[in-house]
Each structure stands twice: as structure tokens, then as C-alpha cells.
């Protein structure tokens, strides 16, 4: 049972890891905690659904289109909602993203009401057995996609010129502007990438969780806990934090009580912030008030 739980934990944790990664990208680049990231997750899936149901596009076309659409939505959010108040105190920025989250959810609810929509799976394969373990195609897909995306992100940040620019701009926006980096465009692109990442995560997960307006909000707290556990602002920490959280959640649910699964994230947050606020990999005294 331990192994089965660990496996499902890794699969679940991959979702948290990807979401936490997206949020960390935005946090690192622009200093904003995006409470609407769960809605990027939700919107990605909804856009694919709309493209498949109403436009009749096949999945392998709809998915990339949706990701591109999410990139532009992310840029739009940065341009029209965040940039005008970029100099406000962080609480104002955070609350703006909360308001955005409600706005997106409200819009989704307006169109789809109380329905829960099904989504065709990416692959239809029956689950297969490895010894005692049951592994679904979904699990494998999640794990490999997570690995691929995380690797892509790291390579991007470390190796490409844009990635190095990103690191510079997030460390010092003024300095970056002085050497000719367009900080506004940079912020827009970072938000776009985070939104695209969120959208991809949503598309991967929707076949299992089904589509409904609140699907993002409910997973957001897990991403939060992952970021807290891994250390705020640490990209690797976000991924490790997400995976660890997924596994620990499953263990707690399996061995202690299923009721714990719902609040496990909150417990992690409280315990980590009281005992070791910088999490596993964060540096102490990261205070962005």
C-alpha cells in the first residue's frame, strides 16, 4: 500500500508542482503572488473544451491552440490589470489577483452555470499493473509531462539569453532597464508563460477531475502549500514542495484519516511558517511586504 500511495502521491504532486512552478515564475519576475493562477489552470481546460465541442477541432490541435491562447491571456492580464498598479503596495496587487480570480470564475459560471463538464482524455488506455501496483496512463502522462516541463523551464532559465535576462530583471528591474531590457515586455512574457504553464496543467488534469468553474481555486491552496514548503521564490523548491506535498497528503489520507486530505495543505502551511518560514530551500528573511 505504501508504494501505491506514494505513486498516486507523485502523480498528484506533479500537478501541485506545476502550479507552484507557474506561481513562482510570476513571483520571481514581478514580485506578485498571483491568486488567480488557479483560474489559468481552469481556463486552459475550458478553452480546449470550447474548441473541441463548439469548433470541432481535434484534441491535438485544440490543446496547443489553447496553450497559445493562455499565453496571450496571461500577457493581457499583466498589461491591463497588473501594470497600471505596479507601484502599489503588495497587498493591493495581491488583492487585485484575488479579484481577478473571482472575475474569471464568475464569467465561467455565467456561461456554464452549475454544470460539471466532462473532458475527453488525452489517451484512452486501460490502466496496467506492475506487480502489486496499478498505474494509469494518466499518472504516467502527468509524471512525464511534469518532468519534461520542469526540465524545459530549467534549461530555459539557465541556458538561453532570455532566461538570463529574466534572472537579471527579476533581481533588479531598475538595473535591467538601465541596460536596455524592456522590463514591461519582460513582465508580460513572464505572465504569459506562467499562464500557458497553468493552462497546460489544466488540460492534463481535466479528464480526471472534470471541468467546473471552481476547479482552479480548490487546487490553488495546494500550490501555495507547495511554495511554502519548498521555500517562496525558489523554482526547484516549488517542484520538490509540490511532489512532497502530494506524497505526504496521500500517506496521511491512507494511514491516518481521509478527512485530513482536505486540510493537509493548511496544516503544512501553518507548521512550516511557524517553525521554519523559509521552507526547505528558501533563504531566510525573504520579506516582501
Amino acid at each position: 500500500m505504501l508504494l501505491q500511495l506514494t505513486l498516486s502521491g507523485i502523480a498528484q504532486g506533479s500537478i501541485y508542482a506545476l502550479l507552484a512552478l507557474g506561481m513562482t515564475v510570476v513571483f520571481r519576475a514581478t514580485g506578485v503572488i498571483n491568486f488567480a493562477h488557479g483560474e489559468f489552470f481552469m481556463l486552459g481546460a475550458f478553452v480546449v473544451y470550447v474548441l473541441i465541442q463548439y469548433v470541432g477541432a481535434p484534441f491535438f490541435l485544440a490543446a496547443p491552440l489553447a496553450v497559445v491562447a493562455m499565453f496571450f491571456i496571461g500577457r493581457g492580464v499583466e498589461r491591463f490589470f497588473i501594470r497600471p498598479i505596479a507601484l502599489s503596495p503588495h497587498i493591493i496587487l495581491a488583492m487585485m489577483t484575488v479579484a481577478l480570480s473571482y472575475l474569471f470564475r464568475g464569467i465561467a459560471r455565467l456561461f456554464w452555470g452549475r454544470e460539471v463538464l466532462p473532458m475527453p482524455p488525452v489517451f484512452s488506455l486501460p490502466p496496467f499493473e506492475v506487480g502489486d501496483l496499478i498505474v494509469t496512463a494518466q499518472d504516467i502522462l502527468m509524471a512525464t509531462m511534469t518532468l519534461a516541463l520542469v526540465l524545459a523551464f530549467f534549461l530555459f532559465f539557465k541556458l538561453t539569453r532570455f532566461g538570463r535576462v529574466a534572472q537579471a530583471a527579476s533581481a533588479s528591474p531598475r538595473g535591467a532597464a538601465l541596460v536596455g531590457i524592456d522590463v514591461d515586455a519582460f513582465s508580460g512574457n513572464m505572465w504569459g508563460m506562467a499562464a500557458a504553464l497553468g493552462g497546460v496543467t489544466g488540460i492534463l488534469v481535466a479528464p480526471v477531475t472534470l471541468l467546473y468553474p471552481d476547479m482552479g481555486a480548490q487546487t490553488l491552496i495546494r500550490a501555495f502549500a507547495a511554495m511554502t514548503l519548498g521555500g517562496f521564490g525558489n523554482l526547484g523548491g516549488a517542484v520538490v514542495g509540490g511532489l512532497l506535498l502530494g506524497v505526504m497528503e496521500q500517506w496521511a489520507g491512507g494511514y491516518l484519516s481521509t478527512a485530513l486530505i482536505d486540510i493537509f495543505s493548511y496544516l503544512v502551511i501553518v507548521v512550516v511558517l511557524i517553525t521554519r518560514p523559509q521552507g526547505l530551500f528558501g533563504s531566510p528573511d525573504v520579506t516582501r511586504v
Partner: protein, 312 residues
């Protein structure tokens, strides 16, 4: 003295209000008073002390459930009211002490998590709270007269809220209020003047817990049946919006914000999603164009309305 006259006129208007309303409108007005009081409590920590702490929903829920549980155990409303406030104050202490070590986003997140943990508690400690099906709260009574109508409850809520707000005003217009603002503006400078920051920070949380706890108890009495869902993140956002739109560090602003934001959801109950959309647009507009809220805008035009930190 025009100020005395204005206060007198206001008092008469408030006393005569139920004559002009029907039961439903009066209910909405009662709700506005309750949310206004909750906003006052929230404002103490968020606006005056300036800490990004979102424990207000927890205080609100603790006050509500404390009242409900005590009344179910046999206490009258009047006997249960103060303990409900004290339960909130105790929660304020529990949050305030660790809050000394956490700054900025960390404090915001941990207090948010605390609120959700409390909500999980309401759901799962069903021996006391009756879990998700909700806890019924009986009508209060004055002697042998049950206070059933909205008009009667209005006077009750008005009296309690006025008393609590009077106490808050007294605190704000004294060394304590000045210490809170001083700590918010420049903690080092405040310490150099002899104020021990830790003591005043915890005091703010305890005061906030008490005021919000009383508001929660009044809320429980007003709606008659409380369920864990009322004390989640939606509630938090609503109370935050009330404080933002009304204006941080303004008592009158809290009432104004409550008035605006309580009426709106009531009007839009029947359209799924519409409430969220209007609400979020309102909040965005305030965040973008009026970060100081209505009270801030008014205070610039009418300096007389500025709330002082001393008694004149």
C-alpha cells in the same frame, strides 16, 4: 454647535429607522450593521496597525459558533454574548503571538490557513457544531419577550455595535491608537519613543478578535442558522472588500463599505456568476482608482471628517 446638532439628528434618524422599512429591508440593514462592525474589527489590525493579517474570518466564525454552542448549552443570548467576544479575543491572542515573528505575505498566508483550519474544525467537530448541516441559533429574548422581528433585532444590534464602536473610538483616540499607527508607520521610531511594539501588536490582535467575535455572535443571532461555509474565503474577501472600499483606518468608512457591499449581493442573488463579476469589478475599481477607499476620498474634500487620534 453644529457637530452636536448633527449627532442628535443622526441619533433620532437611527432610532426612527424601522418605521420607514419593511421586514426584508430591515434585515438587510441589520446585516449591514453586523458587517460594518466586523469591518471595524478587521480594520484595527489591517488598517491601523497595518499588518497583513487575514484572521478576521476566523474571529468572526469563532464568535458565531461560541454563541451558538453556549446558547445550545442553555445560556441566554445575553449571557453568551460577552463570552463569544472573549473567545474571539483569545483567538486574537493565539494569532497575535506567532504573528510577531512573521512578516508580510507569510503572515497573510498563515492567518488564511488558520481560518480554513477553523472551518475544517466546524465541519468535523459535529458533536458541538453539528457540522455541515449547521447550528441553529434561537432568538434572543428580553425577559419573557422574544425578539423576533427585524425591528427588535435592529435595536439590539445597534445598541451592542454602538457600545463596542464607542470603546474602539476611545482606544483609537488615545495613546493606544497613536501607538498602533506609529508602529505601522515606523516601528523603529515607535520603539525609540518608549512603545514596546510586541505589546501593542498583540493588543491590536486581541482587540480585533473581540470586536470581530462580537460581530460574529450578532451575525449568528441575525441569520438564525450558521454553517461552516459562511466562514470561508468568500467571507474573507467580502470583509476585505468592505474595508478597502470603505477605507482602511476609518471607522465610518467601514460602515459605508458594509452598506455598499451588503446591498449588492442581496440584489444579485438569482444570477449565477453575476454577483462574483460585479463584486470583483467593484473591488478592482477601488484598488485601481481609490486605494484609500471612500473615506479617504471624502477626507481629502472634507478635512473635518478626518478621524483624529486624540480627543479634542
Amino acid at each position: 454647535m453644529p457637530k452636536r446638532l448633527a449627532v442628535l439628528v443622526l441619533a433620532i434618524a437611527l432610532a426612527a429607522l424601522p418605521l420607514a422599512t419593511n421586514d426584508y429591508v430591515q434585515y438587510v440593514l441589520n446585516l449591514i450593521l453586523v458587517y460594518g462592525l466586523a469591518a471595524v474589527g478587521f480594520n484595527l489590525v489591517l488598517g491601523y496597525l497595518g499588518q497583513l493579517a487575514f484572521a478576521n474570518t476566523a474571529f468572526f466564525g469563532i464568535g458565531a459558533y461560541a454563541l451558538g454552542i453556549l446558547m445550545e448549552a442553555g445560556l441566554s443570548f445575553w449571557a453568551a454574548l460577552l463570552p463569544a467576544g472573549l473567545a474571539g479575543a483569545l483567538a486574537g491572542l493565539v494569532v497575535g503571538l506567532p504573528a510577531l515573528r512573521l512578516k508580510g505575505y507569510y503572515l497573510a498566508i498563515v492567518t488564511l490557513a488558520f481560518g480554513e483550519l477553523m472551518r475544517w474544525g466546524y465541519i468535523h467537530m459535529d458533536a458541538y457544531t453539528h457540522g455541515s448541516s449547521g447550528l441553529g441559533v434561537a432568538a434572543p429574548s428580553l425577559g419573557s419577550l422574544p425578539l423576533d422581528s427585524q425591528a427588535q433585532r435592529y435595536y439590539l444590534i445597534l445598541a451592542v455595535a454602538a457600545l463596542v464602536v464607542w470603546g474602539v473610538f476611545n482606544l483609537l483616540r488615545s495613546r493606544i491608537g497613536r501607538a498602533w499607527v506609529a508602529i505601522r508607520e515606523n516601528e523603529s521610531a515607535a520603539a525609540s519613543l518608549g512603545y514596546w511594539p510586541a505589546r501593542y501588536k498583540v493588543a491590536a490582535f486581541v482587540a480585533s478578535g473581540f470586536v470581530t467575535g462580537i460581530a460574529g455572535a450578532l451575525f449568528a443571532m441575525l441569520i438564525g442558522r450558521i454553517a461552516p461555509d459562511s466562514f470561508g474565503l468568500n467571507q474573507l474577501l467580502l470583509q476585505f472588500a468592505v474595508v478597502m472600499i470603505g477605507g482602511m483606518s476609518s471607522i465610518w468608512g467601514s460602515i459605508l463599505g458594509a452598506a455598499l457591499l451588503t446591498a449588492t449581493p442581496e440584489l444579485l442573488r438569482n444570477f449565477p456568476g453575476a454577483e462574483e463579476i460585479i463584486f470583483s469589478l467593484m473591488l478592482m475599481a477601488v484598488l485601481r482608482f481609490m486605494p484609500r477607499g471612500l473615506a479617504g476620498v471624502l477626507a481629502v474634500r472634507l478635512p473635518m471628517l478626518r478621524e483624529r487620534l486624540y480627543r479634542s
